[in-house]
Amino acid sequence: MHEVDMTKCLLLSMNQWQQQHAPAIPSVQRVHLQVGAFTCVEPDQLVFTWGVAVQGSWLAGAELVIETVPLLGRCLQCNGTYTPSPEAAYRSPCCDHPMEEIVSGRELRIRSVDYSLPEPPPSRPDLSLTAAAAA
């Protein structure tokens, strides 16, 4: 359910990004997200709500591509990295240490946007500028 609110937040960020290109409206092909495995986001749910939310908007047809970032912990006992799992109560298999440092898995990041900008109208010589240069 909260994916709906996540999508709203994502759309707000995308609208702000679009403002940078105003007055042109970029045509977006893909939005790339990085979503950590240790977050409350279900990637499939997010893709679904995105698809519904962008209908009829300037982002219609844009695909949401989600890269899942695995949960990786660092054992502070031996400094080795490991994959914490709920089955092992998130402890490190090497030293039986609790999950202290999280190296990756908490990401909720808009990584990049693939887009194109409409062709600018054919430029006409700027007369005022030419006149200024001639003077």
């Binding site: 909260h2 609110d5 990004w17 409350c40 808009i110 946007v113």
Partner: protein, 247 residues
């Protein structure tokens, strides 16, 4: 023909919420109050705990409650009876509070009192152990409540919440003799995902453990107010004109 462009944003997905949360936080710091985001599943005993803690702390602290849990709206009267103003937050059908909703609650609160007169602001989040963990509201501390009736594997089933919490209050410990639950296991599981988390075992009905929990709150309150005071001094110094060197 035009080339596809790629913008590398590296922007947090929840940037819009974080921006508003930061704004709330600036207000809290300017008002020099401690804001707590209180989260739990429904029925973890939030209202009962709050009732006890508000009554116990009212002589030392000026407090208010922003109430985001619609199911406990009826309990607002119980809290107001202690003399602490309670302002409901309109959440629609949201399963968590976000920073903009809290801002709306602050506006209503501001019509009733001057927030700068407060020492402690309690924000009671929607009863849910999942997404409230991801939506910052500008709080100084996240407090998660966990009732012993919920079993001892909750911290492993909802690890993000228990990882993000600064403090976990284990409630209803008076029921332990009647439950097949070991409170040591609950505590151990919390520390598996969050080794430095403060954990308190309390009972709102017997009052057990409340003093230790209130002691933690006092510590956080003074940590936040001295940080705010240091910030204020810093900005004063920054604003002060360069000292004139007298030869």
């Amino acid at each position: 023909m035009h080339m596809p462009l790629e913008d590398t944003l590296g922007l947090n997905l929840l940037a819009a919420n974080q921006h508003q949360a930061q704004h709330n936080r600036e207000h809290f710091d300017a008002w020099q109050l401690l804001c707590l985001n209180v989260m739990s599943s429904p029925g973890a005993g939030k209202t009962s705990l709050l009732e006890r803690s508000l009554a116990a702390l009212a002589p030392e602290f000026a407090m208010a409650v922003l109430e985001g849990d619609m199911t406990t709206l009826l309990d607002a009267e119980r809290l107001e009876a202690v003399g602490v103003p309670v302002v409901p937050i309109t959440t629609g059908r949201a399963c968590h509070l976000d920073a903009a909703m809290v801002r709306g609650g602050l506006r209503i609160l501001g019509q009733r009192l001057d927030p700068a007169s407060l020492d402690l602001l309690w924000v009671e989040n929607v009863g849910n152990l999942v997404c409230p963990a991801e939506f910052e509201i500008g709080e100084h501390r996240k407090v998660a409540l966990l009732s012993v009736t919920e079993g001892d594997d909750k911290p492993l089933k909802y690890p993000v919440m228990f990882r993000e919490a600064d403090c976990v209050v284990i409630t209803k410990v008076d029921l332990l003799p009647y439950l097949p639950v070991q409170v040591e296991r609950i505590e151990a599981h919390i520390h598996q995902v969050n080794p430095r988390c403060a954990v308190f075992q309390v009972s709102a009905s017997t009052g057990a453990g409340l003093e230790a929990w209130h002691g933690w709150l006092r510590q956080q309150r003074s940590a936040v107010s001295s940080a705010a005071a240091a910030l204020a001094v810093e900005s004063l110094e920054a604003a002060a004109p360069e000292p004139v060197l007298v030869p």
